[in-house]
Symmetry: D2
Subunit: 216 residues, 4 copies
């Protein structure tokens, strides 16, 4: 059976959890569209994410790779269309590094386009009652770096590859508000979706993306 | 058995649905904390909402009244603390009326404070993993008018009374995006929560509010 | 010559400046519509603002009082229409106090309405090319407390009274971004207007408000 | 004397004006850093912008080209770092065209990076008290198409090239609010900067960008 690799990220920015990690854990081991899902975690660490990602791709040899990450302040599922050759961190990663204005691959192209069927993914999410939008920028933090690097690594293998940004989990926002010491306060916007809806969204993303794979 | 009246609103502003109407329908007939829930609909009509509300209060003679309404652009459950003596409509109601800068009750007080246990409601929602905030303004449209009028009508009866604003339903945002002709586009923010989570939130609001009622 | 009292606030929340303080300083001593402007500073201190405000009203005996304050995240001039009887601080004041869910005047009304000519003020600002909106909530921090208290103190004197919220000053946002350590980062919204435009706005607010005064 | 070409866009989306057109007009004919500024207008027309842009570059043979455009909802000066090979219009252009998911140059690279000194531009704007941010996405409307196409056309000539997004002009927002029939209403955010501050910003952008040019 073909394998599909998905990754989430560790918590970062002082948050206690990361919905992308919960999704990777929830889907790990599932079978979707005849493929076995392998859900793994990437470090929020600019010095280490690339080697970890490459090792996972070598180990799993997936027929499809999709990264998931948190976009604080986003209000729906966000289908990334481009990764750019830029690391420019507004907040330090978990190892304390803050690269600014730095190329990810000094000799790489300015950007690489997602090879997922973005339009079909969005249509299927909306059909299922889950708000989703396209995005032309995955930012310049580790999510973008992962997308840019993965597109390079996967192109050599002929593996479809893309990235999905998630809003805060509703449960996470509720916990932050309860503590009263999160990055949020009663005045600020903190859009979210329940983790259950985001897991359902991830399954749909995988079904649509895997549908186009050659039969394993 | 004591009755609890809740109201939702008709769709308005060209929308095909209103999550507050779905919540009133979903909870109608339920028993919560030993009370029977009566879920009804209010017209989005400045000339008619007051008489309809008064008739419902007369008919149901509830031990508790809570209005629900949609706050487009809101990102969590919003517990209103005040209704003000002002009708100032940015968009026309369903009968085409747009009162501007007009007192709801020319001789009424400037504002009336909710008599719900707001802090306990918010704590219970957060405990259940549902984001919620306090609000000091229910706007100046029909939601505020309903809260202001209801607080006047209920004070005379000694009935606790308040108002809860809801974000868009996720399913509603997905439908609007699918049609591509709603008030939203791919660029704009449209925070939402699934209708299922909002129904759960309404149940919690009712449980906490009814807990303080004298035994029926 | 009649006097008009305006107040701004000290910086707070770790900010180095407060546009309302700059406006009070810029207009202090000016003559507008035949009135002498007295611009003073209020402390961001729940325990002290009331006495300072009362002392200023006693000392200046103004024909008109208008408070100014910063609303972080606001994008235009905001004309407050109500002050509510609630102190509920999301961030501590400059003395470290964070009253939560507390009445400002235990025996006071739920809210008091501004006695400024709000519609005429907004029309004049828009005519001058300055974006302005009405607001039905001045929050539940010191700005609201000042408005609520001032409306009570001024009613007894027959003095028109209101409150204007300001966005960040553009120069202030630029300084915060330059330092890279403010409450803002490259991703977050931080709407602003230049201090020069806000001073012009304040002059218009005063002209329109003073126009209705009995000739001194 | 070397020439510098700047372009603004026609009004679109039902707006009566476009701050980028006002800036191009205001700077046309100025001398900045020893260069003559040529300010011209581009049509909001996907079928025509490219030929008009190419004709202008041929005619003016500039030592530097910078496009300006409006980003509705933006709150500061936005320095674009990438143009992507995608036209995906949420609203029709002025000729009624709405390309969706379409490559600008079927054989072109996924994206092209701005060749302006972005970091120096931002530093100079902040130093002058003007809020500015970097952006990794110019969207997928005509602004992005102009940036992507211009980077291709200018690369062949060795001409530095980039794009600056502007917020609404404050005067424009005030006019829209006065009419009460714009894309805005009293509830919605509409951040803006005065046209005067945006003209000053454009001069700084040109000074910093022209500083790096070989002496003409």
């Amino acid at each position: 059976m073909a394998s599909v690799l998905i990754t989430g990220f560790e918590p970062y920015a002082g948050l206690a959890s990361n919905p992308s990690a919960e999704i990777a854990a929830a889907l790990d081991g599932m079978e979707i569209s005849g493929c076995k899902i392998v859900g793994r975690l990437l470090p929020v660490d600019f010095a280490r994410y690339h080697d970890r990602l490459k090792a996972l791709l070598d180990e799993v040899a997936p027929a499809l790779y999709i990264g998931f990450g948190l976009a604080m302040g986003e209000d729906m599922i966000r289908i990334e269309r481009f990764g750019v050759n830029l690391a420019d961190f507004d907040i330090p990663d978990n190892a304390g590094a803050s690269p600014r204005g730095r190329a990810i691959e000094p000799e790489g192209p300015d950007a690489r386009a997602s090879t997922l069927p973005s339009a079909a993914i969005r249509a299927a999410l909306l059909e299922a009652g889950i708000p989703a939008r396209f995005s032309n920028s995955a930012g310049s933090y580790l999510c973008n770096a992962t997308l840019y690097s993965a597109l390079g690594l996967c192109a050599a293998r002929g593996t479809p590859c893309g990235f999905i940004h998630l809003p805060y989990a509703s449960e996470q926002v509720a916990a932050l508000l309860r503590e009263g010491n999160g990055p949020l306060n009663g005045e600020s916007a903190a859009p979210s979706l329940p983790i259950e809806m985001m897991v359902a969204a991830a399954e749909i993303v995988l079904q649509v993306s895997a549908a186009g794979l050659p039969t394993a």
